[in-house]
Amino acid sequence: VKLPPPMPSIVALTLVAYHVLLYFYPRSYRRAYGKEMAANTARHCHTAYRCAGAFGVVRWGVRLFGDTLRTAAGERVESFMQGQGDQPLNTHHNRVQHALVQVRQASLLMGFCCLLLFPATQLLHAALQGNAPIFEALTAAGLVVVILAASGTLVLLLAKHVYGLGKVLLNRTH
């Protein structure tokens, strides 16, 4: 049996990172296009590696990162405005439930960004012995993300309680 050639580590790393990045998209979009996007990315990564080596893959990876963040943000906004495909926003119940899901996902995403950004800035800061002001600014940005993630979770908890209370009151009035 002839085994396929081993995948270069830079290509494998890029593909793993892209699979993680796909979680930035809403679930419905990911289900519809995620597999195809990942397959296309894999093919393009192999082509880039053949043509330009590791540099080609890194260049494509940077482009993918920017493209994914931009389009995922757009899809998130659209998903929030229009509602999920299987749950139209035709009742107050669905609207509130959808808003809560979006808040929860936004806070999770912010936490994920924080996990990536914070250690990276700390490492770079340590590597340059704390002399570059840009890394001070990045560390501050990391802290802002932590605060936003925490406040997002807080809003979620509050909204859940308020929603639960409102639901009980609505049931009583009906």
Partner: protein, 145 residues
């Protein structure tokens, strides 16, 4: 199509969504059904690498075009041994073809207007000189005055 007045209500409904990426995808599907990666490759080859559609941009635009009815998922697929089942093939609809033609007419009008205002003359002049260069060289080699 873009923001121009049109009598056709169907074209007017999709007027706002005709972006350069949409035009690139419609052009790629002009000569037959293609899957997403084939569209990426066609656009890259046709533009000599000047335009590379990243997957996020490509599939987001495809989603919008599907909703607007400019393309549909093609029913026919190649033989299973030649095909990857994850792929979906896209087909340009009649509405998509009309939108592409309207965009072509808009671009032709744009070029005509630019020519009228002498905006294209220097470029065309340079193009003519460059296109005549091989003939000039061969004339010089043959000692033709």
């Amino acid at each position: 199509v873009r923001k121009g007045p049109t009598d056709d209500p169907e074209l007017a409904a999709v007027a706002g969504m005709v972006t350069p990426v949409v035009v690139d995808i419609m052009t790629a599907l002009g000569d037959g059904d293609r899957h997403g990666y084939a569209i990426m490759q066609e656009v890259e080859e046709r533009t000599n690498g000047a335009v590379i559609l990243a997957p996020g941009t490509l599939y987001r635009t495809i989603k919008k075009m599907l909703v607007a009815g400019l393309i549909v998922e093609a029913g026919e697929r190649p033989a299973p041994d030649l095909d990857d089942e994850r792929r979906r093939y896209y087909h340009l609809t009649a509405l998509g073809q009309r939108v592409a033609q309207a965009e072509l007419h808009r671009l032709q009008r744009q070029v005509a207007a630019m020519e009228k205002k002498s905006l294209l003359k220097p470029l065309l002049g340079l193009g003519h000189v460059l296109s005549l260069r091989p003939y000039l060289w061969s004339a010089r080699e043959a000692n033709v005055p």
